[in-house]
Amino acid sequence: MQFFFEVLIGGLLSGVMYSLVAIGFVLIYKASGVFNFAQGAMVLFAALTFVSILAKGVPFWLALLLTLAVMVMLGLAIERVVLRKLVNQPPISLFMATIGLSFFLEGFGQALWGTEVHGLDLGITDEPVGWLLDDYNLSISKFDLFAAGTAGVLVTALALFFNRTRIGRALRAVADDHQAALSIGIPLQHVWAIVWSVAGLVALVAGLLWGSRLGVQFALTLVVLKALPVLILGGFESIPGAIVGGLIVGAGEKLAEVYIGPFIGGGIENWFPYVLALAFLLVRPEGLFGERHIERV
Amino acid sequence: MGQAIGDVLLKVDNISLSFGGVKALTNISLDVRAHEILSIIGPNGAGKSSMLNVINGVYHPQQGSITYKGKTRALMRPHEAARQGIARTFQNIALFKGMSVLDNIMTGRNLKMRSSFLSQALYWGSAQREEIAHRLKVEEIIDFLEIQPIRKTPVGRLPYGLQKRVELGRALAAEPEMLLLDEPMAGMNVEEKQDMCRFILDVNDEFGTTIVLIEHDMGVVMDISHRVVVLDYGKKIGDGPPDKVRNDPAVIAAYLGTTH
């Protein structure tokens, strides 16, 4: 039983790590109806920028600030150079543009900062919480708890920002119909610039946490694969959905790997979350908290 | 008039339909007779479009029954309705945007096409013959609707009015027995409305197609329908020949305002 809880809690906590990446997707999807393929590249780019600035001897907080500034500038540049020209185009075209963007960022980041792999130490050890381990023999990582806390704060802040300000409503309007949003004076360019900057911030947070776990290296872009089922399960438009989806995916895949895996040969974590998400979708085709697809004639 | 108005072709009985708290239709009964032109009128949100959606199975009423060609059922299914000869156009144009006018109208005939997809892949024998036979039929419709010059244009580029015409063409391609038209003349000027009326009358006249029409232009409704049904807030408040309906005080109060 103790092992079960360990797996369950561990799973829930790693799920939160997936959510951190998924939130970045949600933001951009909410604001433009576009699936941002470049989110992984942004995570890499942010982390790479941060460690490289740090390596130049800049103090931690200043480096964080500088990186944030870089991400905001990146968001502005993306809006200006790419998105602005693609208003009102089919989502698939915008999707493709983000693919181009991801190639560009991957090349740019590594051209700028090099290909070597960096370690990143945030000062929080990835070790079990002592008293839990001693008293209950439960191995729960401090780092995971920290990550969960960070994700919680991020989600709350974003949810407040988007639900309490008129920007939130404007975002949903933009995602529904670019042209109509333009027609009533929603400045699409500002909205997009803001959202991409915030997505850059989220990428930075995800990049720091994942980077300190995996090291800052190209493989950071691959964490996206873990975020996709989360996104689908939670619903593309919902920030809380990203969290709940993450918890379900995290717990589900770990339990499955440990308890089902041995019977079919193990290593099922790659496809299991997708099958899980698929099962959910058959019941709710728009994910847990996603918007209903309106189809009328 | 070409064909005399016949027996009841479609009968809806005591239909109720609601969405969450919104009652779109409440206890509606009405019948449609073969070869007639029946108009449904009523204020916005009265449930007119919903009625059409119930008839051809897009909406499933919570209560009531539908009798079509003598067969009674609780609800219709869209493809079944199509197979039984019910075709329609939509209030918000529902053309296939990525396809040309010709292809859109050709899809109207898909139901009648038989060749297997393998023979289509080879484009050999029956597939080719069938394609050409149906194309001939579609060209007749194109001629009838006077849209020859735009045959190959993608429908997304067409002005609104022409799109409505193409949609009518697609419905006609199925050679329906019953045609449901949802505001076919919205957004048209008088001249274009005249054209549309002519098409509707001709179809009714030559092929004896039964027509159920939703329209807000009272001039059109009163001129071309045999019978008018009035809905208000999901209830039926009037049913009869145009002249009777036009002077019905309840209808005037709810919808017409002044007599037209």
Partner: protein, 272 residues
Amino acid sequence: MGIAENPYLLSVNNIEVIYNHVILVLKGVSFDVHEGSIVALLGANGAGKTTTLKAISNLLKAERGEVTKGSIEFKGERVDVMTPAQLVGRGVIQVMEGRHCFPHLTVEENLLTGAYTNKAGRAAIAQDLDKVYAYFPRLKERRKSLAGYTSGGEQQMTAIGRALMARPRMILLDEPSMGLAPQIVEEIFGIVKDLNQRERVSFLLAEQNTMVALRYAHYGYILENGRVVMDGDAAALAANEDVKEFYLGLAGEGRKSFKDVKHYRRRKRWLA
């Protein structure tokens, strides 16, 4: 009334519009809207009315359309350098053809998005909302429904109401009457007149319902095939024989029944 002496609010000078680099739609269109006037833009399907309005509101770019010649000025300022949002900021708003509500927002949220540029504060916005509900009681009943699930007419009302929420100085109305029940059409034009007279809002309206449009407009232009073929005071246009026949459906004495239209008709004189 002397509207013709008012200064120009909007002037469109000889514009040409091309879609997708190849499709030439407007072939030199010019007209003016005086401050405080209602101008009707009439014409058959595909004449270019919508294109003209979008050229003004700068929504054309989003459709890969481009004004390749001529100029558009609003209060003497060139419009082509402005974004649609800036134009809305200057009081020009367009109600797009074909409703274009935000389907996943409720009716009320749709209306509130219209107030995005309105800096007047919450109370003022609430007041405006009440005003719109007073114009369209039907919307008040349906305010909690997702716009995507409302009827065609309800969506049209939402779209118009949404534009009013921006407190515009000039409204570009594209086919406002489409899909609306007759008494609502009258009401909408009543609102137009009301706003025009009381708040001096100017209107440029593209409308197929010529009869109603000419009843309320001061001045009208008729567009055919991307060109202005006729213009004049509304009353004068309404009296024109051709307009009577082709746009009002009146032939000689009174209205001709839709049942009796001939299969072969006389072609428009100016097209011959």
